[in-house]
């Protein structure tokens, strides 16, 4: 049923442009080891870390994003791709921070207090990582103090909150109000999501955006990061 591909490609023998293209394919196929190898080869050939990140990894994930949106790739495949991306990022991250290069962005994410549903939140976290963001996942049942401590401590750009229950949705406003009170609301992009939410709710509680799904969250995060810089 599956098409046969030539597994005998020796990445180190490929010229730069072909290697980058192969890495796009390997990201598409979710091959973490191959992405790590390709990332290292490009660095060894004198590419800068931001170049590798931008051309090989983010470029490849952009293709994944488009095909996900078009229904060609399914969620599990996108998550495999994100995982492969993460393997490349693991190599790039120490170099990026050493050279002071600006990362794509940093997000603190968690399911709000009282709520224990985390599958959607996990999906967003994985997709954000796939897009090159650094994600700090606080898990479930997160209170305002914990969110604020985490964004401040990690110097994050984005705060992401999720809720599945109508009973816990209002807590998102509690967190945003706490940011206001602390006088740090404007320092952060606040994104909210979860099945019972909608645009109006996001607006009402003072979030920067409501994200309908994980793919939208990535797009919105990128847009708002670009607008902020």
């Amino acid at each position: 049923m599956t098409e046969e591909y030539d597994d005998e490609i020796i990445l180190s023998e490929l010229p730069d442009d072909e290697l980058v293209e192969q890495m796009h394919d390997d990201l598409y196929d979710g091959l973490a080891d191959e992405i790590a190898e390709g990332t290292q080869i490009l660095l060894d050939r004198g590419w800068s870390a931001p170049q590798v990140l931008d051309k090989a990894l983010v470029g490849g994930m952009a293709i994944v994003g488009v095909d996900f949106r078009d229904g060609i790739l399914f969620v599990p495949e996108v998550l495999m791709a994100a995982n492969a991306m993460k393997a490349g990022m693991a190599i790039l991250k120490p170099i990026l921070s050493e050279t002071g290069a600006k990362p794509v962005g940093k997000m603190v994410i968690g399911t709000v207090k009282g709520d224990i549903h985390d599958i959607g939140k996990n999906l967003v976290g994985m997709m954000m990582e796939g897009a090159g963001f650094e994600v700090i996942d606080l898990g479930i049942n997160v209170d305002a103090e914990t969110y604020i401590e985490a964004i401040e401590e990690n110097q994050a750009n984005i705060l992401g909150m999720s809720a599945l229950l109508t009973t816990t949705m209002p807590y998102m406003k509690v967190v945003i109000d706490a940011l206001q009170e602390a006088g740090i609301r404007d320092k952060y992009i606040v994104l909210v999501g979860g099945a019972p939410l909608n645009d109006e709710f996001g607006e009402m509680i003072g979030a920067d955006a409501y994200c309908r799904d994980a793919a939208v969250a990535v797009d919105v995060a990128k847009e708002l990061m670009a607008a902020a810089s």
């Binding site: 229904g71 969620v75 599990p76 224990i116 599958i119 109508t166 009973t167 099945a195 799904d213």
Partner: protein, 509 residues
């Protein structure tokens, strides 16, 4: 025989071919050997993988009775313990209506239907977009369920999203349910501490604590499991506290195949059933005499997007298989069915609902839930959909009733008489006898000739449904809570639905 035209015209008889409690169970997606394999794997899961995060009282009582914590700190149930608990657990659950006509004897594959769904939106009559649901919507939904013959009981159909305080929300939801219907009502609680105050109010409605407990017309329960295989604290506490109703406790789990349950449907059945049993065991170790309605609700993911899809063929068959497993254990069952992904009461909604509800009912589900009015993957309630679903449920229940085969129904003699007589069956005693009791007639489904249909304005079923909703809800304002009691309740509890909103002339209908 004189049939009494005037008497019948004045008081139309309600004769139906179907009713609550028809025996189901003929549809079995799993073979006997499949059942055994699923069962064995369930026992393996409960004994070896176990459940994470049991609440203290459950952990303590389970450990006392021979359960153990494994090296990962998870509560494990030895297979002998599970099998004993299943053998010991009540096999039947009696649900009381406030009117004995609505009593339900649940168990042994007898099929009943429930409203429910906890949607957070309404699709108004004729509307094409959703709006947040309110307490008044829940009251109206309860009144409508009260008049739907094929919806046998009520659960929280919509959430009163305008009420911020959760205790106030839970009490008000119970109040409007009791004000709107005499059918049994299954309640939901955000926190275990809400159970007692809600019971206090129900005692007032019943005319005293003893009276309530003689015939508890409400029960409680919750969704105590975070899939995969972990107890959630708040709802575990709610389930245990709900024993105080003196009524069956409902326990529902909803692992989502591909996301929080295995993508392989057999694995989804194993996990959902194991989790439902874990919910039952939790109540069982605290009070083995309280019946538990087990709700293994295997949900399905659309793996293109990761979102829940309630209308798929996978959802229909995996839910029926989960029912089969609970029936295999001889325990009372519930499952969600009719959770269409369509946003309006359209063709998609119709086929998705019919498929899932038919398979669940045919599998012998005791409590077919979410089957009345839900749209948009449980995100909205449509009252138009509810009245259409009432027809749909009637037709499904007719298939559950099946075909009675005996010498008389095989009709050899009637055939012989007709062939040698008038040449048709329209005037036979048999036809006269069966035309009402053997046939189920939909209220809305259009059976006109094309010509008649055009003359009548070529309306579709949604239009007809809207008219029926308006007709019922503008006139059916029952006085199920007498004014004196109502005043006392309002003195003591913060009831947020004003009396003028519970009478004709309100702005809604």
């Amino acid at each position: 025989m004189r049939r009494g035209r005037k008497a019948r015209q004045q008081k139309p008889q309600k004769i139906s071919a179907v009713g609550p409690g028809l025996p189901g169970g003929r549809f079995r997606p799993l073979t006997r050997s499949d059942e055994q394999q699923v069962h064995k794997t369930i026992l393996d899961v409960l004994e070896n993988i176990g459940m994470g995060d049991p609440i203290p009282i459950v952990k303590e009582k389970a450990l006392e009775r021979g359960c153990f914590m494994n090296e990962h700190g998870r509560l494990c149930f030895p297979r002998a313990f599970v099998e004993d608990a299943i053998a010991r657990a009540p096999k039947n659950a009696h649900f009381f209506g406030r009117d004995p006509r609505h009593d339900m004897d649940v168990g042994d594959g007898r099929v009943h239907t429930y409203g429910g769904g906890e949607a957070v939106n309404m699709l108004d009559v004729g509307a094409s977009s959703y709006r947040p649901s309110t307490l008044a919507d829940l009251y109206d939904a309860a009144r409508l369920v009260d008049r739907m013959d094929n919806i046998h009981a009520l659960a929280r159909l919509v959430v009163a999203t305008e009420i911020e305080d959760q205790l106030t929300c839970d009490i008000n939801s119970a109040y409007v349910s009791a004000a709107g219907t005499l059918k049994h009502t299954q309640l939901t609680f955000a926190d275990a501490s809400h159970v007692q105050p809600t019971l206090e109010m129900l005692y007032m409605i019943a005319g005293g604590k003893e009276k309530f407990h003689e015939r508890p017309f409400c029960n409680g329960g919750g969704c105590p499991v975070i899939s995969p295989l972990r107890y959630g604290q708040d709802n575990s506490e709610v389930c245990v506290e709900s024993i105080a109703f003196g009524a069956p406790v409902w326990v529902t789990v909803a692992p989502q195949a591909g996301a929080t349950a295995p993508a392989a449907l057999a694995g989804a059945v194993v996990q959902a059933t194991a989790e439902a049993l874990a919910g039952m065991l939790m109540v069982h170790v605290v009070d083995p005499d309280t019946p538990v309605v087990l709700g293994p609700w295997p949900f399905v993911s659309d793996l293109r997007t990761g979102s829940f899809t309630g209308g798929s063929g996978e959802e229909a068959v995996v839910s029926a298989a989960a029912v089969q497993m609970i029936n295999f254990y001889g325990l009372p069952s519930s499952v969600g069915a009719g959770m269409t992904d369509s946003k309006t009461p359209d063709y998609q909604a119709g086929y998705e609902k019919a498929l899932a509800i038919a398979l669940a009912a045919q599998a012998g589900c005791n409590d077919v839930s979410e089957c009345s009015g839900m749209l948009g993957s449980l995100m909205a309630l449509s009252l138009e959909s509810m009245v259409i679903d009432n027809d749909l449920l009637g037709a499904v229940l007719r298939t559950v009733r099946g075909i009675e085969v005996n010498e008389e129904t095989l009709s050899y003699e009637v055939m012989q008489q007709v062939v040698h007589g008038e040449g048709h069956y329209l005037r036979t005693e048999q036809t006269l006898g069966l035309m009402r009791t053997g046939y189920e007639y939909p209220a809305l489904a259009n059976r006109l000739t094309p010509g008649e249909w055009e003359e009548a304005g070529s309306t579709d079923i949604r239009q007809a449904a809207g008219e029926r909703v308006k007709s019922i809800l503008s006139s059916h304002y029952p006085d199920y809570i007498d004014p004196a009691t109502d005043a006392k309740i309002r003195e003591r509890f913060p009831i947020l639905l004003a009396p003028e909103n519970m009478r004709p002339g309100n702005q809604r209908w």
